[in-house]
C-alpha cells in the first residue's frame, strides 16, 4: 500500500494540509483532492438518510478510482475530511481505514494545540513528522 498523497480538508472545504510524495504532481493531486469533496457530500448525504453513525461510518471507503490511483475518504464527526490517494490498486479497505484512523488521531492532536488557529493550514512539524512516520511505515 503506497500512499501517494494525503490531504486534510477543513470544515469549510478549505485545505488544511496536503502531503504529496511526488512534488512535481502536486497540482494533479490537488485537483483530485478537490474533486473528491463532491463524493464526500454525496456519501454523507446517503449515510445521513440511513442514520447510522458509528465509528465505521467515518470511513467512507473508496470515493472514486482514477486510471492510476484510488481515492479513499474519511470524515470526522466535526466534518474534517481526510483524503488518501493510493498508488496500489489492490489495497484493502481495512488497511486504509486503519491508516486513516491513525491520521485522525494525529489531526486531533494538532487541533488541540492552543496555538493552532482554526481553519488555518496546519504548519506543525510534529504533525508532519507523524504523518510521514505513518506513511513510511
Amino acid at each position: 500500500m503506497i500512499v501517494v498523497s494525503l490531504a486534510i480538508v477543513g470544515q469549510k472545504n478549505n485545505p488544511l494540509y496536503i502531503y504529496c510524495s511526488e512534488p512535481e504532481n502536486k497540482r494533479k493531486f490537488e485537483y483530485i483532492i478537490h474533486r473528491s469533496l463532491d463524493f464526500f457530500e454525496e456519501k454523507v448525504n446517503s449515510n445521513s438518510s440511513k442514520e447510522t453513525k458509528s465509528q465505521q461510518s467515518l470511513f467512507l471507503g473508496l470515493l472514486f478510482p482514477t486510471e492510476t490511483y484510488r481515492v479513499f475518504g474519511y470524515i470526522t464527526n466535526t466534518n474534517y475530511k481526510l483524503i488518501c490517494i493510493l498508488n496500489d490498486l489492490t489495497s484493502k479497505n481495512e488497511e486504509v481505514s486503519k491508516l486513516l484512523r491513525s491520521f485522525h488521531h494525529l489531526l486531533i492532536q494538532a487541533l488541540c494545540n492552543p496555538f493552532y488557529i482554526t481553519d488555518e493550514p496546519i504548519d506543525s512539524e510534529k504533525f508532519h513528522n507523524g504523518v510521514l512516520e505513518k506513511i513510511l511505515n
Binding site: 469549510k12 472545504n13 478549505n14 485545505p15 502536486k26 497540482r27 490537488e30 485537483y31 478537490h34 474533486r35 473528491s36 469533496l37 463532491d38 457530500e41 454525496e42 448525504n45 493550514p121
Partner: protein, 1310 residues
C-alpha cells in the same frame, strides 16, 4: 417523459425525446435540383430542400405485413439532403465553419457581458435560470453532425430515394434530358461511389411552375411527358410563387422556414425575407407532395424491398449450403479437400459479405417501414448473424440502433447493451464510432433527465475526441450537467469548466476560455486552493492579454505572483508574461500596481524611530540624559537600588546555603540563563545534583506604539522593517523608498465603492448607448462631448478597479514636502532582509507614513502598505474613560522648526592613531536646520576601550568658560554631568559655543586617547537646543549620534629574552629591547616592577642609563636595551598583601559612597562580582600565594633541566604596557608589566620610591576561582581596577582624569 424535460433547455432543436430519436432514425432522400428550378425557389430566398424540410408528415396509417392491422404513425421525419450535403466536405473548411459558429455565438451573447469577471456566472441560481449558458452549442452540434462524413459502415445515412426537380422555365425538348441527368444511376454521383452506397433506390421526378412568372401550359406539357416516361406515381407538378412580389411581406410565418435551417447564420439574418412569394396554397401543394411521397410511394417501396431482400437472403443461404455439399461430394481425397476448403472459404467470405450488406439494408429499411416494433426483432436477428460471421463493425452498429429502438419503445436505456458496446469498442480501434456513440448516450441521458450520466458521457466524449474545439464544447456541457446533480458537484463543475477553458485557449478562442476560467474560479474563491487558483489565474492572464484586456491580464498575473507556490521556472515565466502585458499596456511607461505582494513586508517587525531617538528604552543615551537632568532621576535610582538589594539578598541566601551544607561548588551559583526565560528553577532536595540557578533576563521593552509621537521639521525619521522575497528566483528592487502624505486623508484607495461605481458607469453607458440611437441628429455634438467624458470616467474607474494607477504617478514620485531616501536592494530566492529607510518631512502638521514604494523591473511601481495594528483596549484607565488604543506608529505629528546639527570629520578617514598618544580630531559643526541652536553638549558613549579627554578644544579657547560668573549654575550642572559620565569612562562637556546660527559652520578639535589596539567604534553624542522661539514640550532638545571607526596601532615594541642565570637556579636574566614606533613622540621609561610576590626584579645592567636613577628616554623610531635579573624569593611572605587589602578596603569604601565600582565591574565582567570578591578576599589570597609558590617551583625545576630551552621571546612575548602620562611631564612615561604564560611576573618600578606595589595572580587557578581570575584578567583592561597604581598617582598629585593604557600580547615558553 412526454413533457419537455428541463434539461433540454440547452437544446432548442429537441422538442421531445421522440423527436430526437426520430431525427436519428429517419430515412435520407437525395434532392437534386436543376439550376432553373433552384432559381425559381430562390425568389423566396429558399432552396427546394428548405421548402421540403418545413413540411411535417403526421398522422397516417401504414399497411403492415398483416393487412388487417394498420399502424398509425403520428409523425414521420425525412432527411432531405442535397448531393453536396451528403458528399464529404473538406475537413479544414468544415473546421472553419464550426469555429466561426462558436466564435460568433459568444460575441452575440456577449452584449451584456463586457467583463466576465464582473458579471460572474451565478452557480447557485443556475438551476432556476432559464438562460442557456451556451446558445451556440446547439447550432454547433447540428452542423457538426451534419458535416460528419458518412461512414461506409453507417447504415442509416444511405439515401433511400432521390428526387429530381426541374422547372417550367426550361425548354420542353431539353427538359427530359435534363431530368434524367440530374440523378442518373447509370452514371451514379461520386458520393455514392465513394461511400459504397446501394444504387437500388427509389427515383421521383418533379416539375415546379412559377405561377406568376412561369408558363403553366408549358409546365403541363413537360409533366405529361414525364408521366409518359417514368409513370404517374413517380411524377409530380408543384405550382409555387402564387403571391405577388410587390407585397414584399411574409405571408407565411418566418419560423416555418428558419427553424429547419442548418446554418444559424441564416436563421439570425433579419434583413432577408423568406418565402415572400409563397402563399398558403403553395405551401399546401408542397405538403401534399411530401405526404403523398411518404405514404403512397416510400412505404410501399420499403415493404416491397424488404420482402425481396429477405427472399434473396434465404436463397443465398440455401444456395451456399448446396454449394458446400456438392463440393464435399466431389472431392473426397485429402489434397483435393484442402483445395476445396480454400475455395469454400473464399466463396463463404464473398457470400457472407453479400449477406451482411443485405442484412444491413433490411435492418435499415425495416426501421423506416415497420416503424420500430418489427425493427427490433429484425435487428436482434441481424446482430446475431453479424456476431456469428464476425462482422464486428456491423454488429456494433446494430447494437447501437437497438439501444435507440429500445429507448423509443420501452422508454428505457439498456445499460447492459452500453457496457457490451463499450467493451467491443475497447477491443477495436473505432474512434469515430465511439465518439458518435457517446454523443447518442449523452443525448439519451439528457432526455431521461439523468445529469450525472449526461455529464459523464459528455466528459468521455471530450476525452476521446482529438479535435480541441468539440472537446472543449462537450467538456463545458459536462460541467453544466454537474450542477444538476443532487447534491451539486461544484468541484467537478470547476474542473470541467477549467479544462474546457484550457481547450478553448488551445483553439485560440480566448473569450470562451476567459469565460470558462472565470466561472471555474467561483467555487474556490477564498477557500485557499491556491495551486488551482494560480493555474486558473495564469490562463486568465494570458486570455485577457490576447483579448487586449491588459488591465485584467495584469491583475490576473499579479494574483499568481502574490502566492508563490509555483516552481522557479513557472515563476520566471509568469513574471515575463506579466512584464510583457504591463509594457504593452503602458507602452513602456511606468505604472503603479497596488497590492502586488512582491516583496512581502513583515507586518510585525515595522518600527518607526529616530536614529538618535532618546525615547528608545534600550538606548544608552537615555542614561546620559537623565544625568544631565532632562529626565526625572529619582524614580530610576530607587528602582536600581531595589534591584541591587534584591540581588544581594539572593546571593547571600544562595551562598549561605552552599556554605552551610558544605556541598559541591555548583550550589548557590547564579548563571545566565541562555534561553532568557522568566522562570526560575527550583532547588531539588537531591544534594548530589548540581543546580544551575538562573537569572531571568530582562526582556527588552517594546516601543510604545499606542502613543502619538512628535517629530521635528526636517528631521530624518527611520523606519525599520523586514522584507522578504517570496519568489524562488532572484529579485532586484530599485527606488525603494518610504511613502507618506500630509493631512487627514490619502488619495482614494481601491475600494468596493470604486468597484460598484465602475459597474454602475458601465451599466449606464450600455443603457445610454441604446438610447442614443433614438436621439435626434442635432444633439450629436453634445452627445459626443458627454461620451468622451464618460469614456474617461470609465477608463479611470476601470484602472482603479484593477488596482492600477497611471494618473497619480507624478504625485507619487515627486513630493516637495518630504525627502525620502532611495535604495536599491537585490534579493536572493526567498531571502529575508532587514531594511532601514529614512524619510524627512519638510512640513508641519500630521504626517502619515503609509508604506514603501518600490520599482520592479523598471516599469512597475509597487506600493507595499504598512498595516496598522488593531485597536487595543486600554485597561489602565478607568472604565468610563476607556477608549481603545490606536496604533500611532505611522501617524506622526511634525512640530515646529528646529535646528539641525550636522557634524563632519575633517581628514579623519584612513588615519591611524598610536596607542596611548593623544589623538586630535578636527570636527566641523554645521547647523542646517531652520533656526539657530544653543546649549551644545558633547559626549562619547560608553565604550570599554576608549576614554575621552576632558578638554575639547575649539582652536585655542578653553572648553569651559570658568571666568564667567553668571554661569555658576551651569557649572554646577556640568560638574554633576562629569560625575555621572565618569561611570562610563567618558564625560559630557558643554562646548564653548553660545550659538550656531542657521547654516553657520564652526570647527572644533576633539582629543582622545586609546588604550587598546585594533579597530574601534567611536560613538559621539551631541545634545543641543533651540535658541529662541517656542519650544515643543515633548521635544525640547535634539540629539545627534555619530559613529566612526578608528584604527589604533602600537606605539612601542618590546623584545625580551629570558635566560637562566649561571649563578643561581632561581635566578633569571631578562633582556629587554624597547623600540619606539612613533614618528614624532618621545617616550620615557619610568619604572619596572615585579608584581609577583615571590619574584623580585633587580636591574642588572643598562646600556646607557641607569633605571634606578634616570628615566630611559626613547626617541622616535629608536630603541634601547637593558637587563633585569629575576630572583625567586621562596620563603618570603607576599610583599603586597597589605597593599591588596588596602585596595580592597578602598573599593569597599567607594561602594559605600557611590556607584563607581559597580558600574566599572559591570563594564568589565558583565556580572556582579563585586561583593563576592570583597567578602572572601583575604582567605583566597592565602591560598593563592601557596599555589603560586608551587607553580614557581615548577618553573625553577624546569629551568634546571638542561634539555629545556627556556624562554625564547620575540616581540609577541610582551604582554602589557602601561603608559602613564603625568600632568607635569610633557613627555610620556610608561610602565612595563611582564607576563609568563601561566606564571605572571608583574612588575612596575617607580622612578622615585622603588617600592613594589604590584599584585600577584596565577592563571592556573582558572578552574578553581573563576571570579577572581576574571577580575584580574579584566582588570588589565581597566584602569580603575588597578587602584594601587592610581593611588600612587594620587599621591603624586595625579587625578582620576589621568589615563593608563594597556596592551596585551601572547607569550609562549617552549
Amino acid at each position: 417523459m412526454a413533457t419537455l424535460p428541463p434539461l433540454c433547455l440547452f437544446d432548442n432543436s429537441i422538442h421531445g425525446w421522440k423527436s430526437w430519436a426520430l431525427s436519428h432514425l429517419s430515412p435520407v432522400v437525395v434532392v437534386s435540383c436543376s439550376d432553373d428550378a433552384e432559381s425559381v425557389c430562390q425568389r423566396n430566398n429558399l432552396s427546394f430542400v428548405d421548402l421540403l424540410r418545413s413540411v411535417q408528415i403526421t398522422d397516417f396509417y401504414v399497411a403492415t405485413s398483416q393487412p388487417e392491422k394498420q399502424r398509425l404513425i403520428e409523425s414521420f421525419y425525412v432527411k432531405w439532403l442535397t448531393p453536396d450535403q451528403i458528399s464529404p466536405t473538406n475537413k479544414e473548411d468544415t473546421n472553419k465553419i464550426l469555429h466561426n459558429i462558436v466564435k460568433k455565438g459568444y460575441t452575440n451573447s456577449k452584449t451584456d457581458q463586457q467583463n466576465p469577471l464582473i458579471n460572474s456566472f451565478q452557480v447557485e441560481n443556475f438551476r432556476n435560470s432559464t438562460t442557456n449558458p451556451t446558445p451556440w452549442f446547439v447550432d454547433y452540434r447540428r452542423e457538426y453532425l451534419h458535416y460528419l462524413p458518412i461512414s461506409p459502415h453507417e447504415s442509416l445515412e444511405h439515401p433511400i430515394a432521390s428526387v429530381s426537380i426541374i422547372s417550367s422555365e426550361i425548354d420542353v425538348e431539353k427538359s427530359m434530358n435534363k431530368l434524367s441527368t440530374l440523378f442518373d444511376l447509370s452514371h451514379p454521383p461520386n458520393f455514392m461511389i465513394e461511400n459504397k452506397m446501394e444504387f437500388d433506390i427509389l427515383q421521383i421526378y418533379i416539375i415546379i411552375n412559377d405561377v406568376q412568372l412561369g408558363d403553366t401550359k408549358k409546365a403541363n406539357i413537360i409533366y405529361e411527358k414525364m408521366i409518359e416516361k417514368h409513370g404517374k406515381n413517380k411524377c409530380f407538378l408543384i405550382p409555387i410563387n402564387s403571391a405577388k412580389e410587390e407585397e414584399n411581406k411574409n405571408i407565411l410565418p418566418k419560423k416555418l422556414w428558419t427553424e429547419h435551417f442548418i446554418s444559424s447564420k441564416r436563421r439570425d439574418n433579419e434583413e432577408i425575407i423568406y418565402g415572400k412569394r409563397l402563399n398558403e396554397k403553395d405551401y399546401y401543394e408542397i405538403t401534399r407532395f411530401a405526404n403523398n411521397f411518404v405514404k403512397q410511394i416510400l412505404f410501399p417501396f420499403l415493404e416491397k424491398k424488404i420482402t425481396m431482400i429477405s427472399e434473396v437472403i434465404i436463397n443465398s443461404k440455401k444456395g451456399l449450403k448446396r454449394k458446400f455439399k456438392s463440393l464435399i461430394k466431389r472431392k473426397s481425397t485429402v489434397n483435393s479437400r484442402k483445395k476445396s476448403i480454400k475455395k469454400e472459404s473464399e466463396i463463404e467470405i464473398i457470400e457472407n459479405d453479400r449477406i451482411v450488406k443485405k442484412n444491413k439494408t433490411i435492418c435499415r429499411l425495416s426501421i423506416f417501414n415497420s416503424y420500430f416494433e418489427n425493427a427490433i426483432s429484425n435487428y436482434k436477428t441481424a446482430t446475431a448473424h453479424f456476431k456469428k460471421i464476425g462482422a464486428k463493425r456491423s454488429y456494433i452498429d446494430t447494437l447501437v440502433i437497438q439501444i435507440i429502438l429500445n429507448f423509443l419503445i420501452e422508454e428505457k436505456i439498456s445499460e447492459n447493451l452500453i457496457t457490451l458496446i463499450l467493451n467491443e469498442f475497447s477491443k477495436m480501434d473505432l474512434n469515430e464510432r465511439k465518439i458518435s456513440f457517446y454523443w447518442i448516450l449523452a443525448d439519451l441521458y439528457k432526455l431521461i433527465q439523468n445529469p450525472l450520466q449526461t455529464s459523464k458521457y459528455f466528459f468521455e466524449l471530450s476525452q476521446e475526441i482529438d479535435d480541441e474545439l468539440i472537446s472543449s464544447l462537450s467538456m463545458e456541457q459536462s460541467s453544466y450537467y454537474q450542477l444538476f446533480n443532487n447534491p451539486i458537484r461544484f468541484r467537478h463543475y470547476l474542473f470541467d469548466q477549467f479544462t474546457a477553458g484550457m481547450r478553448y485557449y488551445n483553439c485560440k478562442l480566448y473569450a470562451h476560455s476567459m469565460r470558462c476560467c472565470c466561472r471555474s474560479l467561483i467555487p474556490i474563491e477564498g477557500k485557499n486552493w491556491k495551486i488551482i487558483e494560480d493555474q486558473i489565474n495564469f490562463t486568465n492572464g494570458r486570455n485577457s492579454f490576447f483579448l487586449t484586456e491588459y488591465e485584467q491580464s495584469i491583475k490576473c498575473f499579479k494574483q499568481v505572483l502574490s502566492s508563490p507556490l509555483q516552481p522557479a521556472i513557472k515563476q520566471t515565466q509568469t513574471i515575463k508574461e506579466f512584464l510583457y502585458s504591463v509594457t504593452t499596456f503602458t507602452k513602456q511607461k511606468k505604472i503603479i500596481i497596488n497590492d502586488l505582494n512582491i516583496p512581502i513586508v513583515n507586518k510585525k517587525s515595522i518600527d518607526v524611530y529616530l536614529i538618535d531617538d532618546y525615547r528608545k528604552s534600550s538606548s544608552s543615551s537615555k542614561k546620559y540624559l537623565y544625568k544631565i537632568g532632562k529626565i526625572k532621576k529619582k524614580k530610576k535610582k530607587k528602582k536600581r537600588e531595589r534591584e541591587r538589594e534584591r540581588k544581594r539578598k539572593r546571593k547571600r541566601e544562595g551562598k549561605g546555603k552552599g556554605e552551610g551544607e558544605g556541598e559541591g561548588e555548583g550550589e548557590g551559583k547564579w548563571e545566565e540563563n541562555k534561553k532568557g526565560n522568566m522562570e526560575e528553577k527550583k532547588i531539588e532536595p537531591n544534594k548530589n545534583t548540581i543546580l544551575n540557578w538562573t537569572y531571568a533576563k530582562k526582556k527588552k521593552k517594546k516601543p510604545n506604539i499606542y502613543s502619538k509621537k512628535e517629530f521635528l521639521f526636517g528631521e530624518e525619521i527611520t523606519v525599520k522593517f523586514f522584507l522578504k522575497n517570496p519568489l524562488k528566483i532572484k529579485l532586484k528592487l530599485t527606488n525603494v523608498h518610504l511613502v507618506g502624505y500630509f493631512g487627514k486623508k490619502r488619495n482614494k484607495e481601491i475600494t468596493k465603492e470604486i468597484k460598484s461605481k465602475f459597474i454602475r458607469i458601465q451599466h449606464n453607458n450600455n443603457k445610454n448607448g441604446n438610447n442614443e440611437n433614438e436621439n435626434n441628429e442635432g444633439d450629436n455634438k453634445t452627445n459626443e462631448n458627454k461620451n468622451n467624458d464618460k469614456n474617461k470616467k470609465i477608463k479611470k474607474s476601470k484602472l482603479e478597479f484593477f488596482g492600477l494607477n497611471l494618473g497619480n504617478l507624478q504625485n507619487e514620485e515627486k513630493q516637495s514636502n518630504l525627502i525620502s531616501e532611495k535604495k536599491t536592494i537585490s534579493f536572493l530566492p526567498e531571502e529575508k532582509k532587514l531594511i532601514e529607510l529614512k524619510i524627512t518631512p519638510l512640513q508641519n502638521g500630521n504626517f502619515h507614513i503609509y508604506g514603501v514604494g518600490i520599482t520592479l523591473y523598471d516599469y512597475i511601481i509597487n506600493i507595499l502598505n504598512f498595516q496598522k495594528k488593531k485597536k487595543k483596549l486600554n485597561f489602565k484607565l478607568n472604565k468610563e474613560d476607556n477608549e481603545p488604543l490606536k496604533d500611532y506608529r505611522f501617524d506622526l505629528h511634525i512640530v515646529n522648526k528646529m535646528p539641525l546639527l550636522q557634524v563632519k570629520f575633517i581628514k579623519f578617514i584612513n588615519k591611524d592613531f598610536y596607542l596611548g598618544s593623544i589623538c586630535k580630531i578636527p570636527l566641523t559643526l554645521k547647523n542646517v536646520g531652520q533656526t539657530s541652536l544653543s546649549d551644545l553638549y558633547c559626549t562619547i558613549e560608553p565604550s570599554e576601550n576608549l576614554l575621552i579627554n576632558k578638554k575639547i578644544e575649539n582652536s585655542s579657547k578653553p572648553l569651559v568658560d570658568k571666568n564667567n560668573d553668571q554661569k555658576k549654575k551651569k557649572k554646577s550642572k556640568l560638574k554633576l554631568m562629569k560625575d555621572m559620565f565618569s561611570n562610563y569612562n567618558s564625560s559630557c562637556y558643554k562646548l564653548p559655543i553660545k550659538k550656531i546660527g542657521r547654516n553657520e559652520q564652526i570647527e572644533i578639535m576633539i582629543n582622545f586617547r586609546m588604550f587598546k589596539l585594533g579597530i574601534h567604534d567611536l560613538y559621539l553624542l551631541f545634545y543641543y537646543k533651540k535658541s529662541s522661539g517656542k519650544i515643543s514640550k515633548k521635544l525640547p532638545y535634539r540629539l545627534l549620534r555619530i559613529h566612526k571607526q578608528i584604527k589604533i596601532i602600537p606605539s612601542i615594541k618590546i623584545n625580551t629574552k629570558l635566560l637562566p642565570s649561571s649563578k643561581n637556579i632561581n635566578e633569571f636574566n631578562i633582556i629587554c629591547n624597547i623600540h619606539n614606533l612613533t614618528k614624532k613622540k618621545i617616550l620615557k621609561l619610568q619604572q619596572l616592577t615585579s608584581i609577583s610576590n615571590r619574584w623580585k626584579a633587580v636591574p642588572l645592567s643598562l646600556t646607557k642609563n641607569d633605571l634606578q636613577n634616570e628615566c630611559t628616554i626613547l626617541q622616535p623610531k629608536s630603541s634601547t636595551t637593558f637587563l633585569i635579573k629575576m630572583i625567586l624569593q621562596k620563603n618570603n611572605l607576599p610583599v603586597n598583601n597589605k597593599n591588596d587589602n588596602e585596595r580592597e578596603n578602598n573599593n569597599g569604601k567607594k561602594n559605600d559612597n557611590g556607584n563607581t565600582n559597580d558600574n566599572r565591574n559591570k563594564n568589565n565582567n558583565g556580572n556582579d562580582n563585586d561583593n563576592d570578591n570583597e567578602i572572601g578576599n583575604e582567605n583566597t589570597n592565602e591560598n593563592e600565594n601557596d599555589e603560586n609558590y608551587q607553580n614557581d617551583k615548577i618553573i625553577s625545576n624546569l629551568c634546571l633541566n638542561p634539555k629545556s630551552k627556556l624562554i625564547n621571546c620575540n616581540d609577541n612575548s610582551i604582554y602589557n604596557i602601561f603608559l602613564n602620562r603625568e600632568k607635569n611631564n610633557k613627555e610620556t612615561e610608561f610602565n612595563l608589566v611582564f607576563l609568563w604564560e601561566n606564571k605572571r611576573i608583574i612588575k612596575y618600578i617607580k622612578n622615585k620610591t622603588n617600592q613594589i606595589t604590584g599584585n600577584n595572580n596565577n592563571n592556573n587557578q582558572k578552574n578553581k576561582n573563576k571570579n577572581k581570575k576574571n577580575k584580574y584578567f579584566y582588570s588589565q583592561y581597566n584602569i580603575f581596577n588597578l587602584e594601587p597604581f592610581n593611588k600612587e598617582l594620587k599621591k603624586n598629585k595625579g587625578t582620576k582624569d589621568d589615563f593608563v593604557f594597556i596592551t596585551k600580547k601572547s607569550y609562549k615558553c617552549e
